[in-house]
Chain length 348, copies 2
């Protein structure tokens, strides 16, 4: 399907190259980057045109309309219009492996020479051996430890620049394109639609906050300060009169499962009105969101589209969706079918 | 000096009463509260009218003008217009004690019956005994532990409501008015001025993020999600089918001294353009801010006004400003004289 969005590949390559060659920090580069033109018709024409007619599209439009129409009993003050989105598997492709895990396993392999202890210490042993299944079988904490600890010792800005360069060139094993091409365009359209109605859009992800900062502005138009992610300890020091921040080798906070509402509370300070996830790691975020008084909307993206993406749910190690499928109806959450609700999946 | 700002006392009492008697969370109450009308003339009339003519006022206006005028070599993209402010002693009065410490010592005293171990365990022992000097002599960590751990076991929303009720009634020992009346109106005017030029204004404070949320919107018009503060561990649980967040009895993060640039990196993800503090606890925040490339401005408020507020600096336990005074010139930071640069201190 033809889609006039500026190529993310081109955008990221350009920005990555700039960051690598100029004295500017990557953040400055991103901020100075070409703004992404909105590729979608105005709301009054066809809201959510990349969403198929059906229950989900209607629910989204009705919710946004009601909460933003003065006088409607569901009207929300703009300060309360907070929408939170998981990243992996909700905004972009997470299969066959979380993108940050692919990156981290490559880095662990490259840095193994400096860490001989990794040969025998899990979870790094599995990562060194390239055995993702073994790593994932050790659970979320082990996986997120490898994802978040790679490249300790760098400044956040340097780490983000390295991630951005990697994202510009590394390609997905099945689709053969750089990962930022595998953002779900209907979801990007939904983010735009929400912001056009004065919703703040936030990412709340178990992934590392600084990994996500390498793509949040160009891919989603989400600013660097609207990301609740996992963090590693960071140290401030002054070297030769120059103040420095350094990522150090210790998990600080993991924003997955019950960590999602906790991170929302610490960083946003307000219960969201809308939460969108895709796995049981998002369960508590939806639960916390939709238990609030007033209008609330919870949605889970169901990966049921083997033809255009992947089909997986209850038995998948990546993005397992099991309890969420069982309990969605009781909570009033919408199960979004990628197969039926997405007019297109990716932009190309 | 006559000042048409809506009375903060009235605003907080009204909101506190609502939060106490309605089923609404405090956040919802705040969001629905009366918006504060801007009491200041438009920029083209008299920018920063509550600031005396002089170096500091000129520096502020020149900086904001240059960084927001397209074509100026110092022009900053709006995404880079981040201004960070300390709270205690920078935006409101911190003497003779940090407001949150007054609150916390009252709570510790009230809760002592449930914590007999506090009779012998510092830093609580000093707090129980009402001996602020002894507590402060134990240093930042001990002080912040008492400040941030009081009222563990409550939800963040309930805690914020209790703080707001307390703020509406407790009075300052010298000035005899509720603490929110002791916000520095020239600083509030500066926040307004910056936002009118598309600056994001953030609080970065060693105080607890949820304590500050009880006043940030009515007092400063700073939203709940633009506060980097100290946090205590928070737990997610489900009780009788109801998801709950609970503040638990363990410090998570202390956003003071070197913690300020770390908190800025985690939450904002971008080096600020402007940093304003008043004590050596803000030193690293200013250092990190002004070491960046491009236009940067660092300022320290010097409490030299014994007549209208207090005079203290190098020898004060509260808000000690010593190293900052020594090094300001070398760093190019402005020392702001409360006595000479503030046309008025408080609104009344």
């Amino acid at each position: 399907m033809d889609h006039p969005r500026i190529s993310r590949r081109r955008l990221l390559q350009g920005a990555g190259a700039l960051a690598a060659t100029s004295g500017l920090g990557w953040n400055a580069t991103l901020a100075q980057g070409t703004p992404i033109a909105s590729p979608f018709p105005s709301d009054s024409d066809t809201p959510l045109s990349l969403w198929a007619d059906g229950t989900v599209r209607t629910a989204l439009i009705d919710f946004v309309t009601a909460t933003t129409t003065e006088g409607d009993p569901s009207y929300l003050d703009p300060a309360e219009r907070i929408a939170v989105f998981d990243n992996d598997g909700t905004l972009w492709c997470e299969n066959p492996l979380y993108v940050q895990l692919v990156f981290a396993m490559e880095q662990v392999h490259a840095l193994f020479g400096q860490h001989p202890e990794w040969a025998s210490e899990e979870p790094f042993k599995s990562a060194v051996e390239g055995d993702a299944d073994s790593l994932l079988a050790q659970g979320d904490y082990a996986t997120l430890t490898v994802m978040n600890l790679s490249y300790a010792g760098l400044s956040p800005d340097k780490y983000i620049a390295i991630v951005a360069d990697w994202l510009a060139t590394a390609t997905h094993p099945t689709f053969g394109v750089p990962y930022p091409e595998l953002v779900y365009t209907p979801m990007v359209q939904l983010l735009d639609y929400l912001r056009a109605h004065d919703y703040q859009t936030w990412i709340v992800s178990g992934g590392g906050v600084e990994f996500i900062r390498a793509l949040s502005e160009p891919a989603y138009d989400i600013p660097l300060n609207q990301i609740v992610g996992s963090t590693i300890e960071t140290e401030f020091s002054v070297q030769d009169g120059e103040p420095k921040l350094t990522r150090i080798d210790q998990v600080d906070f993991i924003a997955n499962g019950p960590g999602k509402p906790v991170g929302i509370s610490h960083s946003i300070g307000r219960r969201p009105a809308l939460a969108f996830g895709n796995s049981d790691g998002d369960y508590q975020m939806l639960q916390y969101t939709t238990a609030g008084d007033g209008p609330r909307l919870g949605l889970l993206l169901h990966h049921d589209d083997a033809e255009r993406e992947f089909a997986y749910d209850r038995d998948s190690i990546i993005g397992r969706l099991d309890k969420g499928l069982d309990d969605a109806a009781a909570h009033g959450w919408h199960i979004v079918s990628m197969k039926n609700d997405f007019v297109e999946v990716f932009g190309s």
